[in-house]
């Protein structure tokens, strides 16, 4: 067949609602649309008029999978506006809660949403019938991340203990020590996860991606760093809006982002890993090498291995932080309110999450801008499909559709965040 339409009405195993339309003419892909039809939720608009202190709790509601990312980016952006700097043990506790979110979010995606693609199962439920012990390991790994978030965030979903300036309450050494026991198990389980995912069959597909991530002088990035790329970008976060622009496209309720003069770019675990391999812990680096990964990974299907390496890193880093924890004297620093603007970028599980706020002298939000990672990856996902689909055009319709969905799931898209799911249409004429 020389032409066809591939149409997936609702993409499965992704967060949120969207679809996919691919038009093929003369065995060439002439159009790809990642259609995000989940309605926009206008968070940026209804933040206006609210007090700055409410922002971490409101923005956490944007996503049930990565609320910590929204709390971290918003808290840092407002602190940036007020000239406040959270340091010491409070800063480390922020890294620790982010470790928890990465572990739970990545474990859910690796085991429940992505692995079935590689092992030929419709979903994790079918996979569990043949691989029960593996699925149980994934669930326990996720639980280890949940426990960090629950302890530091007050609850597992939509945590309520993060505030501008720090936390409302900080844990005792004993509470963290109790977490460490499960995390030691989780670190071993994460290492086994790297080995397991590395043994999966990967399509021979690589692209010369433009990666963008945070880079910190001596840490694998969570909350801070400069925005860097593999094409020479190296800016402070305050220059984000000078370098990146958002564009409206007719087929998506989520704005597309491009890097000025370069175009589409890739954010998330593979970008973070490829730009920060030297910042991973020795254990994570060794596990990556043993898994056959090179310091730069350009096969998006191997993102499942990279995510597993990041789970390992997060367990390792969490244990490091817990081992040297001393409760801070106060759970939060004082925040000097003033009329100002501030921004921040932190590394959500799915990539960089940019927040910018303008606040008046009373601390009332006048203006807000939020750029989630999935919206930044939309164009790269469409480009992947343009190049990936021609290799598989002879496949039966349902198998081709499934391959396309797998290619989308490489990005662990959170469409709820971006507009915040997926229909696939392939038009072969």
């Amino acid at each position: 067949m020389r032409s066809k339409t591939i149409k997936v009405d609702y993409l499965a195993r992704v967060e949120g609602e969207g679809g996919l339309y691919i038009k093929v003419r003369d065995n060439k892909v002439v159009d790809v649309k990642l259609k995000i039809f989940e309605p926009p939720r206008f968070f940026e608009a209804f933040l206006r008029g609210r007090n700055f202190a409410e922002v971490p709790d409101i923005t956490a509601r944007i996503c049930g999978i990565c609320p910590i990312a929204y709390q971290m980016s918003s808290a840092h952006a407002i602190e940036n506006a007020f000239g406040a700097k959270v340091d010491g043990q409070l800063r480390l506790l922020r890294r620790l809660i982010y470790c928890g979110e990465w572990i739970e979010s990545h474990a859910l995606h690796v085991y429940m949403l992505h692995a079935p693609d590689f092992l030929g199962y419709q979903d994790a439920i079918q996979m569990a019938k043949d691989h029960a012990s593996v699925v149980r390991r994934g669930l326990q790994l996720k639980k280890a991340g949940n426990e960090i978030v629950t302890l530091l965030g007050g609850r597992e979903i939509h945590p309520i203990n993060v505030r501008v300036g720090g936390f409302y309450k900080v844990p005792t050494r004993g509470e963290l020590a109790a977490l460490a026991e499960r995390l030691k198990w989780a670190r071993d389980a994460a290492l086994e996860t790297v080995r397991w995912t590395a043994s999966m069959p990967f399509p021979d597909f690589e692209r010369d991606y433009l990666f963008v991530a945070l880079r910190h002088p001596n840490e694998y990035p969570f909350n801070e760093g400069r925005l860097v790329s593999n094409s020479g970008l190296d800016i402070v976060v305050e220059e984000y809006e000078n370098s990146f622009i958002e564009e409206q496209v007719q087929h998506s309720n989520a704005l597309h982002s491009v890097l000025k003069r370069h175009g589409p770019y890739f954010v998330g675990p593979m970008a973070r890993y490829s730009l920060n391999f030297d910042r991973l812990s020795p254990l994570a680096q060794e596990a990556a090498r043993d898994a056959g990964l090179t310091p730069i990974c350009q096969n998006p299907f191997k993102s499942i291995v990279v995510r597993s390496v990041e789970i390992l890193y997060a367990c390792d880093e969490a244990l490091r932080i817990i081992a040297q924890y001393e409760p801070p004297e106060r759970p939060a620093i004082d925040i000097p309110v003033r009329a100002a603007s501030g921004c921040s970028c932190t590394e959500a599980p799915r990539g960089i999450l940019y927040h910018r706020y303008r606040v008046d002298q009373h601390g009332t939000i006048l203006d807000a801008k939020i750029v989630p990672p999935t919206s930044q990856n939309q164009k790269v996902i469409e480009q992947d499909l343009s190049q990936f689909v021609p290799k598989f055009l002879t496949l039966p319709e349902d198998e081709l559709g499934w391959r396309c969905e797998q290619a989308v799931r490489n990005y662990d898209p959170c469409i709820s965040c971006a507009t915040h799911f997926l229909k696939l249409e392939i038009d072969r004429g």
């Binding site: 149980r136 669930l139 996720k142 639980k143």
Partner: protein, 171 residues
């Protein structure tokens, strides 16, 4: 590196279960800020107010792995959630998931990729499904942003809460 693969299969050693097996676990599932989606939560609050000693009541947002963790040590479980099947608002559906699967399309109220239906079926595949497991679905009408139940749903919630007080005694 010391590494014992077998120990990784089942997870770390657990100290005790989440629930006493002698009690019925009742879980109300929903989003409190999506009108009728809160129906399960309101039923749970009614039962909590009755302080029923024979049951342990939880409210839950419906994230699948969290639900599995909650019911994995329980033998008798009742879950109440809002559903959308096209039936008249306030219709109460009852499912014995030990006998058959849930109608998946009915429980797609959440955009989360891993919700109640997936949690039930994954528990079944892992042979962790509680031996006596009932799910009630209350047909909702309004799932828009905001608080408060539709009148038809509120009536159904009150009736089901009263019925459950008796049902948990006989499970």
């Amino acid at each position: 590196m010391a590494f014992v693969a077998a120990a990784l299969e089942e997870g770390p050693t657990e100290v005790g279960g989440v629930i006493q097996a002698s009690r019925v676990l009742v879980i109300g599932v929903g989003n409190a800020y999506r009108h009728d989606d809160a129906a399960g939560l309101v039923v749970a609050r009614h039962l909590k107010d009755q302080a029923h000693s024979s049951c342990e009541v939880h409210e839950h947002v419906g994230e699948g792995t969290g639900l599995m963790e909650l019911w994995k040590c329980a033998e008798r479980v009742v879950v109440v959630d809002a559903v959308q099947s096209g039936a008249t608002a306030g219709t109460v559906h009852r499912f014995n998931v030990n006998l058959s699967s849930l109608p998946a399309s009915m429980f797609r109220g959440s955009t989360h990729a891993f919700g109640l239906n997936e949690a039930v079926e994954l528990s079944r595949a892992l042979k962790q499904l509680p031996s006596n497991f009932i799910i009630y679905g209350i047909e909702g009408q309004n799932f828009d942003t905001g608080i408060g139940l539709s009148s038809a749903v509120l009536g159904a919630v009150n009736d089901l809460a009263e019925k459950l007080q008796h049902e948990v005694e006989t499970m």
